[in-house]
Structure formats: structure tokens, C-alpha cells
């Protein structure tokens, strides 16, 4: 049933044999030194042309016969009792086909869905919203983290404190660690609420056929949306079908069936017609989630030699009316310390609920920890990179520091004298980590047709990372055929099950299923070819577009010739993603270097260069992987310099729910980015892939924060580092 194989795992200079137990029908995991024909070579994404020409069909582009347009009325108040909702006038407006109200009796944030309508066109739907009469009774509110934590603060939930029970992690004795330190640094760091700003807003098109529901949804998880809708509407799972052909971004905010998807389905049921509900940009900012803010009190101690003796974090943050603001991840894993304590406390306030966002908690924690590391290094007169090397927790990162420092020119840049003029340059470095091994569960089907085409079918979705390309590359590699032969069908719950595209799970969870399916298909094809080639199937291999005899490659058949021998129409095989084996290391490392230039008179920071060095197990496609790292870095530049949700304390509303007042990195704000990958064979699954969407975003803002500190000589301990904060920091120096 199962077999033991010994794999050569690790990375350059650190290779070791690891014995793993794998199922019999599982292909041997790829290991160090594997020679690939397709995997690992930069490969343009297979659907690139469809995206560039606007032909790719997103949920927003779905148009069905008789389809209605929905719109949502949101609470303008941060906290109010909803006494009545009168839909009658809206219902009477010509062109309106359905109107519903939500079940809530209390609005707890400005932007909470109150009611919704469906009409023959979008403008009419908006007209109808204006006719809905809602009677609110305003209640006191709190939208500021400091205020929400105060004793006697307004309660977001009746008779409950806003301050939740803390999560504590500790080992050693922090007091002893601080006492043993030659230098101690203590400061408070603050990070803002960041919103996802997926370019395709949240939304769905819902269509009922009797008691069967089909939903096109802008979602990271078609099966999770399906399951949620089935539970919500008390339907058997097989009565709900969810489709996400193309997805315009998600970043963690598009798991499951959110209010707008349920609203679309409810409106469609009432109207007896398909309904499309896509949010407004304002609604997107207010109600689809965000990265919580934080106040992080950090204490670090180190001995004279630069070894950390204590790491302490006391963190508060708000997930709005929801939870999830913790930021301890980096404190618990980036650097060794014999004494460590983290305490994370979520605080409720009257703002939209947070949702997972690209490495939840990590960019916050990394900024606080890494800037504190630099401040302590300065006290100890240590080179900041050296200080990190001394305490580094991961051997792969040690190599990454070397690679990055050389590429970046750390030594030369450190030695360069500071300009005497107003434009000051600075450099910084920060560590990243992640831990996305992938999960079992996904199933894949692979079909070879008589004409030689191969179809990979799996119910995953492409959040923008190039899923179709990655899966096709793995299939082509396993089957020994060219990439163009493979066609990937994804994004439909009618296909075999897969997991959501989030938590950096897609590639490590789906590629092993596809590879296994291809291995099974290959066995069948080898059996077809064996009698023709006069060999045993076990003596054959699929390579270079042929099936050939391993020890005599001149005895071969083209892949197409083999396919022509398929009886009937096609040959199909299935594969599953099995649980992870014991592989090399469960964590993955990374580090980023940043160089900035600060206009010290205006307080304006420009990021000039970022060097990003990362590992992610087996990189399938370095080209799309590099795109992901660029994306993580640039989202980090925005987090460092521009992005923040601004809540007015008088009205309790977000004043910048647009794409101009909520500031995103634009083309002229893009630094030069140099991306390097470190190859690691990890052996946890048959492709050895680890996930990658998140780690690339973890260290950027931290590295930029450290670089600004280096440039101006004082730390800016709050993000984003806007001109007012930079100038204020400079003033404390003067």
C-alpha cells in the first residue's frame, strides 16, 4: 500500500537524505538535482493573451439573458438601531424587480448592508435605493483603537468589553532575559488599517433554476462559496454550482459566501431572474474586510555580543467588529531568543470587520520587530545585517542574506557617506518567513484524447498567480509533452474538488494532485504503447513528446501515436493530494533589502531599490513567481508609504473609500526590484512546492522603515511614513 523512499533534500551545501513514506500510487517526490524539461523554466502564462486583450471573462463580465442589476444600501451610521426599513416605494419604482432587507436590527459599522434591490439596469437600481426609507436610532460609537481600549469606552457589543482575551505565547523568562541584556530597547510601533482593494470588486451573479442555484462569483474559493450557500439556503451541495473562470484579485478577502453573494441569490430568488450584484468601490472599502491596525509595544534585549536575550511584544489591534488583529508571527519565528513572550489582544470598534489579508499579522509584526532590531543594533553599535545573522533562525535565510547583501551592495552602501544636502539615502534589511506546505484534499482529473490533446480538470481557481500555467507545466513535465498540448479547466464546482486559493495554498495543494493524476494516466498510456514497442510498461518512459524505452530511447512512439491507440474517445485518470510527508523544513525563509531617498525638507520618501531573496520549495515557473514577488513588494511599498483607512472621529465614517484618497502605489512610485530565488528541495509532497503569495509581502514595509531610519537618523515608528510623520520625526532629532 505504501512504500519508503529516500530523497535527497535541502539546499545547496545543506543536502541530506530523508526517508519518507508515500502511497504506492504516488509518484516519487521531486528531489534535489531533478532534471526537468519544463518545470523551473520561465514560462509565459498560458492565459496571458486572454488577459491582455480583455477576452478573459470575469464575474463582472457575466451577462445572462434577462439579468437584473442589484445594488446595496448601506448604513451611513457607525452604530445605530435599525428601527424600520420601508421598501415599498422602492418596490413600486418602474423597473424594480426585487427588494430585500437584511436581518440585522443593529448596524455596527458605517457601510453595513441594510437593504438591497434588483432592477432592469444599474441606474434604476440606484434610483430605487434612494427610495428606501430606513429609520435609524443613532447610538454612540467608537472608531479609534486608543479610544476603544479605554475603560468606559462605548461597547461595540452589548454588555461586553471591547478588549478581548489576550493570546499569550511564551518560553523562558522575559524578566531574566532583560536583566541579562547589555542593551535594552523599548518602543511602541503603530500600523494602519490596510484594505485589499482588489481591482475586481466583490460580487456575484446568481441564477436559480427551480431549487438549483448557479452562482458566478468573484471568489478565491469556489467550493467554499458552494458549501456556504448550501448551508445558508439549506440546499444539498449538489444543488449549488459556483463558477469563477477569472478572478480580479482577492488577497484574502474573497473566501466564502459574503453578504453580496447571498444578497444576489436572495434577490434572484425573489425576482425569478438572474441578478448581478457587484459592489461599488466604496462598499468594497467599507465592508469586505481589511488588515487590522496595531499598536505594538516591543522590548528587546541583547548581550554585548549581539545575541538576543529577550523578545517581548504586547500588542493591541482592531479587526473592527471582528477579530484577528494579532501580529506575533514574526516575533515567534524570525529570530532566536531564549526568553520570549508575546501577548496579542484584539479590540472591537465600530468599523468594518477585518478579513484575512496577504500574510495576516505578519507585515504588522515584521515592521515593529525589524525596526526595533535596528534601534537595538544602533545601541550596540552593531552592523544591522550582522545582528540579524547572529540571531537568525533559518539556515536558508543565512544563504539568502549573503546573496541579497551582495546583489544589493550592502557593504558599499553602508560605507557610503551621507549626503550633506536635503536628499538623504538610507538602506535597510528585514527578514521574512512563511510556512505554506499545502493541504490534502484536492482531486484532479486528467484526460488524454485520441487527437493527442490533454485536459487537466480541477476545481481550483486562479487568483492571479498563474494557476492554469503552473498546473499545465506540471502535467506537461509528468507526461513528457510540450506545454501547448495541455489545456487546463478550472473554476467550476462541477470539476473535482479543490481548496481555496489563499494562505499560499494553491500551488502546493493542487500540483501534487495533478502530478499524481498524470502519473496514473501515464501508466495507462505506457500500457498502450508497450506491445507496440515490444517492451514491458515498466521499461518505458514518457519524455520529449514520446513514449520510449528507457534503456534504448531510439525505440519510441510519439505521444500522438500512442493517443491514437486510445480505445473509444479518451483515456482518463484521477489523482489526489495526499497528506504531507515528513520532508526537509516546514518553514520557508526570505529577506528583503531596501534603499530609499528621503527629501528631508518635504518629508517625502521614495523607494529606489528593493532586493528580494526568497525560497519556496520547488519553483514551478520563475516568471510568474517573480511577478508574485514584485506584487508582494509593491503592496509593501504602499503599506510603508501611502495606504491607510482614515476614520473620522466625529461621524464614525471612512473618509477615503475611493481609489484616489486611499492611495495605492502607481507606476511612478515603483522602485527597481531585483528578485532572486533560492532553490530548496523540501519533499513534503510530490512536487516539493511551497506557497508563495504571502511571504513576499511580509518584509517590505519593514525593510523600508529600517532604510528611512538609516537615512534620517531617527525612526518613524508609525506607518504609513507620510511627510507629516517624517518631518515630525526629524524634529525630534533637531
Amino acid at each position: 500500500m505504501s512504500r519508503r523512499v529516500t530523497l535527497n533534500l535541502g539546499f545547496e551545501g545543506h543536502l541530506q537524505p530523508v526517508t519518507v513514506v508515500i502511497p504506492d500510487d504516488e509518484p516519487t517526490p521531486w528531489q534535489w538535482g531533478e532534471r526537468f524539461e519544463i518545470v523551473g523554466k520561465p514560462t509565459p502564462r498560458v492565459d496571458g493573451a486572454l488577459k491582455a486583450t480583455g477576452a478573459a471573462r470575469y464575474t463582472y463580465d457575466i451577462s445572462l439573458p434577462g439579468m437584473l442589476y442589484g445594488a446595496i444600501l448601506r448604513s451611513p451610521y457607525p452604530h445605530a438601531r435599525i428601527k424600520s426599513v420601508d421598501l415599498s416605494r422602492a418596490r413600486r419604482l418602474s423597473g424594480v424587480r426585487a427588494a430585500i432587507r437584511m436581518d440585522d436590527t443593529v448596524a455596527r459599522f458605517a457601510g453595513q448592508e441594510v437593504a438591497a434591490v434588483a432592477a432592469i439596469d444599474y441606474e434604476t437600481a440606484l434610483d430605487a435605493l434612494r427610495l428606501i426609507k430606513v429609520e435609524y436610532e443613532e447610538l454612540p460609537f467608537v472608531v479609534d483603537l486608543d479610544m476603544a481600549m479605554m475603560p468606559g469606552a462605548v461597547s461595540v457589543f452589548e454588555n461586553g468589553s471591547n478588549v478581548q482575551r489576550p493570546t499569550v505565547n511564551e518560553h523562558g523568562d522575559i524578566k531574566r532575559g532583560l536583566a541579562a541584556a547589555a542593551a535594552v530597547h523599548e518602543a511602541v510601533y503603530a500600523t494602519p488599517v490596510q484594505t485589499h482593494v482588489s481591482l475586481e470588486v466583490h460580487g456575484s451573479v446568481a441564477e436559480w433554476d427551480g431549487d438549483e442555484l448557479t452562482v458566478w462569483s468573484s471568489s478565491q474559493g469556489i467550493f467554499t462559496v458552494r458549501d456556504d450557500l448550501a448551508v445558508y439556503f439549506s440546499l444539498p451541495h449538489n444543488k449549488v454550482r459556483v463558477i469563477t473562470e477569472y478572478l480580479g484579485g482577492g488577497f484574502g478577502s474573497k473566501f466564502g459566501a459574503k453578504p453580496e453573494t447571498v444578497i444576489a441569490a436572495r434577490l434572484a430568488r425573489e425576482a425569478r431572474a438572474p441578478v448581478k450584484v457587484m459592489l461599488t468601490r466604496e462598499g468594497e472599502h467599507l465592508a469586505t474586510g481589511n488588515r487590522p491596525d496595531s499598536l505594538q509595544k516591543v522590548r528587546l534585549g541583547a548581550d554585548r555580543g549581539g545575541k538576543l536575550t529577550a523578545i517581548e511584544l504586547v500588542q493591541h489591534g482592531s479587526g473592527g467588529i471582528g477579530a484577528g488583529s494579532g501580529s506575533a508571527g514574526p516575533f515567534l519565528s524570525l529570530y532566536h531568543s531564549p526568553n520570549l513572550r508575546t501577548e496579542e489582544t484584539n479590540v472591537f470598534m465600530n468599523t468594518g470587520p477585518s478579513s484575512p489579508m496577504r500574510a495576516p499579522g505578519w507585515p504588522q509584526g515584521c515592521f515593529a520587530l525589524e525596526l526595533a532590531m535596528d534601534e537595538l543594533a544602533r545601541k550596540l553599535s552593531l552592523d544591522r545585517l550582522e545582528f540579524r545573522r547572529l540571531n537568525n533562525s533559518n539556515p536558508v535565510r543565512a544563504l539568502e542574506f549573503d546573496i541579497g547583501a551582495k546583489l544589493f551592495g550592502w557593504k558599499e552602501k553602508s560605507a557610503a557617506p551621507k549626503s550633506s544636502g536635503p536628499f538623504k539615502r538610507g538602506i535597510g534589511v528585514a527578514s521574512a518567513a512563511w510556512h505554506a506546505l499545502g493541504v490534502s484534499g484536492p482531486q484532479a482529473q486528467v484526460i488524454a484524447y485520441r487527437d493527442g490533446r490533454v485536459q487537466v480538470v480541477i476545481g481550483t481557481q486562479d487568483i492571479g498567480t498563474g494557476t492554469r500555467t503552473i498546473l499545465a507545466m506540471v502535467a506537461a513535465e509528468e507526461l513528457g509533452v510540450e506545454l501547448a498540448r495541455i489545456e487546463c479547466q478550472i473554476g467550476d464546482t462541477g470539476y473535482p474538488f479543490s481548496v481555496p486559493s489563499g494562505g499560499s495554498m494553491t500551488t502546493p495543494s493542487t500540483t501534487p494532485a495533478v502530478r499524481q493524476a498524470c502519473a496514473h494516466l501515464k501508466e495507462k498510456l505506457l500500457r498502450l504503447a508497450a506491445p507496440v514497442l515490444g517492451a514491458e510498461p515498466s521499461d518505458l518512459e514518457a519524455r520529449g513528446g514520446t513514449i520510449r524505452v528507457r534503456f534504448d530511447p531510439s525505440r519510441k512512439m510519439s505521444f500522438e501515436d500512442v493517443c491514437r491507440r486510445i480505445p473509444g474517445d479518451s483515456l482518463s485518470a484521477e489523482g489526489e493530494r495526499v497528506p504531507n510527508y515528513e520532508g526537509y523544513r516546514k518553514d520557508q525563509a526570505g529577506c528583503q533589502f531596501a534603499e530609499v531617498e528621503v527629501d528631508t525638507e518635504l518629508g517625502i520618501v521614495r523607494v529606489l531599490k528593493v532586493v528580494a531573496v526568497h525560497d519556496a520549495g520547488q519553483i514551478i515557473d520563475p516568471l510568474t513567481a517573480r511577478s508574485q514577488v514584485n506584487g508582494g513588494v509593491l503592496m509593501g511599498v504602499g503599506y510603508a508609504l501611502f495606504e491607510t483607512r482614515r476614520m473620522d472621529p466625529q461621524l464614525g465614517i471612512m473618509v477615503n473609500p475611493t481609489m484616489d484618497d486611499y492611495k495605492l502605489v502607481g507606476p511612478l512610485d515603483v522602485p527597481e526590484i531585483d528578485v532572486r530565488f533560492v532553490e530548496v528541495a523540501n519533499g513534503f509532497n510530490n512536487t516539493g512546492v511551497m506557497g508563495f503569495g504571502e511571504p513576499a509581502h511580509v518584509a517590505t514595509a519593514a525593510a523600508i522603515g529600517c532604510a528611512v531610519y538609516d537615512a534620517i537618523g531617527v525612526p518613524v515608528r508609525s506607518l504609513p511614513m507620510t511627510p507629516d510623520r517624517v518631518l515630525a520625526a526629524m524634529e525630534t532629532k533637531a
Binding site: G421, P723, L727
Partner: protein, 329 residues
Amino acid sequence: MNRFEVITPADLAHAARLLSGEGHVALAGGVDVIDLLKLDIIAPATLVNLKNLPELRGIESRAGGLRIGALTQLHEVAEHPLIREHYTAVADAAREAATPQIRNLATVGGNLLQRPRCWYFRHPDVHCLKKGGDRCYAPGGLNRYHAILGGGPSFIVHPSNLAPALIAFGASAKIVGPSGQRSVELEKFFTLPTVDPRRENNLEPGEVVVAVELPAPPAGAKSAYLEAREKQSFDWPLVAAAAMLVGAPGSHTVHDARIVLGAVAPIPWRSPDAEKEIIGHPLDAERARAAGEASVRGAHPLSDNAYKVAIAKVLVRRAILKAAGIEET
């Protein structure tokens, strides 16, 4: 957006008559009007389409100066050779405005008359002083981008980035209304909230800005326009500064100067104090610095925007030096 009709009048006089009526709003480039319509800040019954009126078009040389039709698009201003050569600050201001796509739609008239970018004003759920409500939310709220000069009772900043540069060259607005036409210096066209917090200029009902007239630039005039922005890509300025300098013949002495700031006050903010610091003196970095300091004399920053005072000082200094062609060391 409410439902409305669109009327295209045959001539200017008729346009003026239509615009005198309640619920009529002019439609030109449309960028700001569409924004306001989408936000339900305006809900006119009728849009009066001005694009058919020849008086509003074209850039022409006139009496040594230039007449820029109100419908002229920002990209035309940015690229026009005469403007680039003789009114450099104006061309630079146009080039810095918005995005390439918006510069291809937005007009000179629209840039001057656009409503403030204040996030309270632009928020559909906030009924602020500017919209006829009873208070300005900036002083007690989030005011990092608001006025440091000339504020009260409303604390918006004027959003036009062309206006400071145009005022630096003494430009006038040519206006046609139901009772005829008038010409008003742009400097006097914009009005403080003390006059009427609900508006930013003295355009009367039915009046149409037909053109902007730039007088001939003084001999030896040099100019510069600078913006300080958080983002280098599309962003509104924290502070803008336009400087126009006229050198005395044959010397380094500044014979005349105009210094106008943008994004610091509810109107484009000319600073005679800054001008005084440099007029009649040979220009050097120290003089320019003094002008920068003087430019924000009397500033009353709000809780979050004192940093704009610091930025304004620097930007005025830099604009003066840039106009003069002096490299800072």
C-alpha cells in the same frame, strides 16, 4: 446619478439664459460634473452642454498674450509651444494635473471651477457647510490636507493647480452672462469662505467662463511650478507653488515677482509678503529662503496639517530658485 436631460444651446447667449434657471448645470469636459453627479452632490434636472460654442475653443495669440478657450483640454495646455516657452509654470501645472487620461478630457474651465477635493465635501453621506449644512468637519476631524491659510468657516483648499500658475502671470477670466460680458482677474475671481462658504468664486447664476486671458509676459519673465505630493503618480498636491520672476535688465536684481501657492487655502493664495522679500533684491538662496518663510506668515494650521507650513516654505523657495535657474547647493 439622478435622471437629467441634456440641452445643447445654439449660442452663448442662450446658454447663459438656460444656466440662469434653477437646476441647470453646465457640462463641458464633464470630469468634475460626472464625479459630483455620481456622488449625488449635484442632481440637476438639466445639463447645459457647452461643447457646441465656438467662443469657448482654441488657443490664440492676442496682443502679445494668449487667449485660452475654456474648453481647451489640459493636455493641449501642457503641450502648447507658446505656453511652454513663455508661461512655463502654466504648462508645468497642466502637465502635473491628474492622469494622462483625465488630461485628455478635462478642460481649463473645469480645472478652475472644479469643486474642492475635501473628503467631507465629496462624501455622499456628509452634509457639510459647503453643501448647506451647519458645520465644516475639518477643524474637529481629519484635516491633514486642509487649509493652513485663509480658512474659516470652511477649511477646504482650492483644488485647481492651473490657477496658481495663471495668477502668477496675471491672467483674467473672460465671463459671459445674461447681462453681458465681463473680465475679472483670476486673483479676484476666487472668493474666500467668509464671502460664502458654499462656493469658491464669484461666478453668478447664468455666467459662463468663456476663456482665460494671459497678458503678454513681462520681458525677461521666468517661471516655475512645483508640487509636493505623497505619491509621484496621480495624487493631489499637499502644496503647490508657482513663481514668476522678472529680472531687471542687465542685473541679477528681481524687478517684479509673483508668488502664488496652491492647496494651502480655500483660494489660490498669492503671497505679497513673499514677493516683497525678493523684489528689488539680487536673488540668491538666502533671499529665496526668506520668501519661503514669508509665504506662510499668518498661517493657522489645524490639528493635523502644520507640516504643510513647513512644506510650503520649502516649495516656495525651490520654485523661486527653479524659476531663476539657480541650482541649490
